[in-house]
Symmetry: C2
Subunit: 363 residues, 2 copies
Amino acid sequence: MSRSVIGAPKLELDTPALCLDVEVVQANIQRMANFCGRASVHARPHAKTHKSPMIAQMQLAAGAIGITCAKLGEAEVMAAAGIRDILIANQIVGPAKIARLVNLAGYSDVMVAVEDAANAADLSAAAQAAGVRLRALIEINIGMNRCGTAPGQPTLDLALRMADLPGLRFEGVMGYEGHTVMLPDPQLRRDKTEESLKLLTDTADLLRSRGLPVGIVSSGGTGTHFITGVHPGITELQVGSYATMDSQYRETVGIDFAYGLTVLATVISTREDCAVCDAGLKTLTRDFGLPKVLAPAGWEMTGLSEEHGQMRRLDGPPLRRGDKVELVPNHGCTTINLHDEYHVIRRGVLAAVWPIAARGKVY
Amino acid sequence: MSRSVIGAPKLELDTPALCLDVEVVQANIQRMANFCGRASVHARPHAKTHKSPMIAQMQLAAGAIGITCAKLGEAEVMAAAGIRDILIANQIVGPAKIARLVNLAGYSDVMVAVEDAANAADLSAAAQAAGVRLRALIEINIGMNRCGTAPGQPTLDLALRMADLPGLRFEGVMGYEGHTVMLPDPQLRRDKTEESLKLLTDTADLLRSRGLPVGIVSSGGTGTHFITGVHPGITELQVGSYATMDSQYRETVGIDFAYGLTVLATVISTREDCAVCDAGLKTLTRDFGLPKVLAPAGWEMTGLSEEHGQMRRLDGPPLRRGDKVELVPNHGCTTINLHDEYHVIRRGVLAAVWPIAARGKVY
């Protein structure tokens, strides 16, 4: 349900409005595709950022091998939109979830991350009972210390067991250098990323030396794509934020993809050199800091309460009640998750409204 | 769309699941109603917390005079559910929003906060054109320094102008002691709250001395209700969080309403004395800190990433992959805003699934 008429100028949209500049997003997608082509690595973009089958289809059209999801609920949305090759880069645990996963495997080529032999056996048994063969990767802990097997022998032990399970098709390994993707120091980021990736690729080689097929070695985020994408032995990148971008990745981490995602807001109150706009914590997140004020220049955000964004004038023009401001989310993934729809902007006017179909699909 | 069968035991729900213990919520609502009865103050509960017409109706049935909303979009949802007396405790600015507001006034008794004479004139003109008379309060800045007129003469000046506007019906004044509601020190909270409320009630008296009718003097949050509710001259309380509660108000601020809102999650990974569950920042917010682990006892949360919650064992029982854990949101208002539905629990089983109808209605 649109609140605005197609063809309306962006600055006339009712606010707050999550805006997607589709030409910028398309250019970001093409640029990452070009990088992957040069690096001879596959892109498997992470849909947890955009949560939109439409943007996923743009990524596939630009050459992505498939997509990545964080949750089964997201994967169900993407599969229902006709996308077949989906990696759920997460553990699927418990009978209810496993039943949904093998059901999904009946109408897509879904692939799941595994870190535990008992879970692998449960997955295999459910897949067999449903008459499907479930694709599986081992998730290796390469330093983030969240999920995953220890590199080396423990991963080999699990892989050997998985290779024998009739309901699974062992496809390879994945990691995620989540502890390095946002390191502001470029050299430190490079060193720590390469150290982590070596754990992943060395383990892949160990598995191959024991005769196991390791077709997929997947890792990487937007902050490390240019390191991970050229690392020998990495076959796929799970990049997510690059398509829409956010101020954390651009301003703090120094990744220069362009801003395709903004929030348009309205000034509802002013006092001296301060203004209050109608976008607060239910519109924008502050996981890593406050949003950036894109327009007008010369203003900064100073706070977000639930429904109010507080701004302070630096050297910008005065703002009056009713003026529009444009903000860049600090963290795209969680900000997009607050909204039901994208206001798709093409050359300054509202071109479409796209549902954020996988929003809230955390289950 | 429920993911679980009505009648299922809570611990069998697919996760993460936002759970509402309806008997606890009902008891919280009755307890606040009893307090308001004893204090001879009206309750106008803030629906920005629960975002549910169902819970709003429970509050009205317990004697609330009406409800409060933060945004026009929320008020539209509540009015569509048949609720008539709605205060939008916020500025409504710009032609698109004002057109929606006067439309809403055609099928509800909506009331709006005003801080500016030009905005008041715009509202009046639109109301006149639509053939309605719009109820309006002046929002006074009583120390939070966000929105609102200065107390005293500036508020009187605006009130005199508003009283002359044919499209408006001047109803009174409101404030919000948002800068005091979470002060952990009870005496400091009381002192600062009373200091703020005096600005509000003194200004109300000033307006009355000039012949203006000030029927409504509205303020208050869950953290100050027992101070604000008995303050001479306050007629209405805008309490929100008390109905569902959260760990910030209970553990940090010391408000002893009971936890009616929890998130059920599943352990997906374990390592030594740590566990990872399937509830992250897309399921729970950390506006004021991390969520509380309600069950099992003897565990605490140590971090939230997008889709993972990290937990550490203190002196609790070991957790295994697949075990369920129950978490209390740190901030109910923003956590509820992440979810599409409540899993309504009565005596341990799923009794209903209620849409969180005003979720995301930030516009």
